[in-house]
Symmetry: C2
Subunit: 302 residues, 2 copies
Amino acid sequence: MNMKELDFINIIKKQINNKLIGDDCAYLKDLGIVITQDNFVEDVHFKMKWATPYQIGYKAAVVNISDILASGGKPKYLSVGISLPQGIDTNFIRELYKGILAGSYGAEITGGDITGSDKVFISITAIGTTLDRKISSRANAKPGYAVIISGEVGSSADGLNALINGHVKPDSIRAHLEPSLDVEFSNEISGKINTDYAMMDTSDGLADALYKIAEQSNVTIEIDYDKIPHKKDITDKKTILFGAEDYRLVAAVPETFLKNIRHYTKIGKVVARKYNIKFTANGVNYSNYDEIESYNHFGDKL
Amino acid sequence: MNMKELDFINIIKKQINNKLIGDDCAYLKDLGIVITQDNFVEDVHFKMKWATPYQIGYKAAVVNISDILASGGKPKYLSVGISLPQGIDTNFIRELYKGILAGSYGAEITGGDITGSDKVFISITAIGTTLDRKISSRANAKPGYAVIISGEVGSSADGLNALINGHVKPDSIRAHLEPSLDVEFSNEISGKINTDYAMMDTSDGLADALYKIAEQSNVTIEIDYDKIPHKKDITDKKTILFGAEDYRLVAAVPETFLKNIRHYTKIGKVVARKYNIKFTANGVNYSNYDEIESYNHFGDKL
């Protein structure tokens, strides 16, 4: 038997045979909500020695809120399931919840569960409303659409690298431990757009998001590498393209819609009805996706 | 610092200051849904040597569906977050999901998350609709109401005891590992009642449910111990009163409403507007709740 996560996901998909799975959130049209859930596990997603309890709580919430924003929903409720080792003290809980509240971006906590465990385990489910919003789908990119991004990528991976290697890079480390979200970008698109559009967050890296949109929309996306926003001191192409957990939003929307968005960077366009990704910058040859190795810890999203 | 779970829960309640917390589910009126989440952790809530992967998945789902039924909602969606050690094989996943599907009682899986971990960790969030239903509250019991239960208690605790001590008690063990739910009882009450009512499941034992309803409703509940349904071979009063995880439903409803319910046992009544519980059977003196020790692993519901 093979223990890889893709095997697991394929088994699960086969068993539940569910069309709701595929986007950052499941869109439950009958209830007018989008829903997402992320597990946040000690020594898999975070290390106690690197992050404060506040930062752990903040990020556990933010990864879910980001999925709601990527779907175009408005974050509304969070359910928080936490399991904690006996050695945890009350101050940890207090700070953890401060972080969760800060990372909830106005969503209200509905309750959840608290139990024991060997390691810190946090599972948060976020619900967003779809009222007065148009919900995105990864399968909605169309030839002629512009491909835009809400902010800089690469900082989080640079920060993780700094933590692993003991480098002093406070801005990047903060980007990794306390990523901010681009609420306005999501609101402006989902609140104003009338056509179908595709949006994802860069939780698994920019290249991964572009690949998934291109594949599920069955289109060719052409990216001008030199347009991708990043900090000046981050120059490694792999970090910029494949670095995960910046939680920026990438969207494919009609060119004519761009006037409705205040802050964005156009990084490319959808050019054809055939699955492919082309990077057009000089000297960069990532035109074949086989070359791409994205950051992928054990465990991908369903 | 004190590490007790009640401290944790009090800190969390203080920080989130949220009126949604207190019932088996949070009732989100604006969305027309009830929501609940339970963590199901290896060596805290189940042991791999006692339960099959199917049974683990079944119970992880059922504990949440039971909360939906206790609220009076109709189970509609499940979000499944699972974290698994590297040693888990694909057959485990297949059987686990079969169990989750069986325990979902018709609710649809929306997706969720799958990640790595040291031990098996399952966090399921269930959503129920409130359409054409009246939702229960623990604070709704009123003097004059009948106190009824949907089925037998004590079997699950008896089964857990058999597993711990290596006794052969297949029926009780099955009641512990694969508890069935009383869907019809919930449907008949929430679908037909016009008045406020209180309902809870016996996830933490019958006495615990009665205590919580009495406390939050600020009423006296009088129970006729001899009426409490249980298997003939289970005679230990502590097992019957305090044994957990049978997932029966206990409700306080107007006497005149009882004609609408096909299968129930009346075990007592609400008698006064003052918080107390009285057990009236001969020779049983549990009139003071201080004597009651309910089953309580580290970790209570929020």
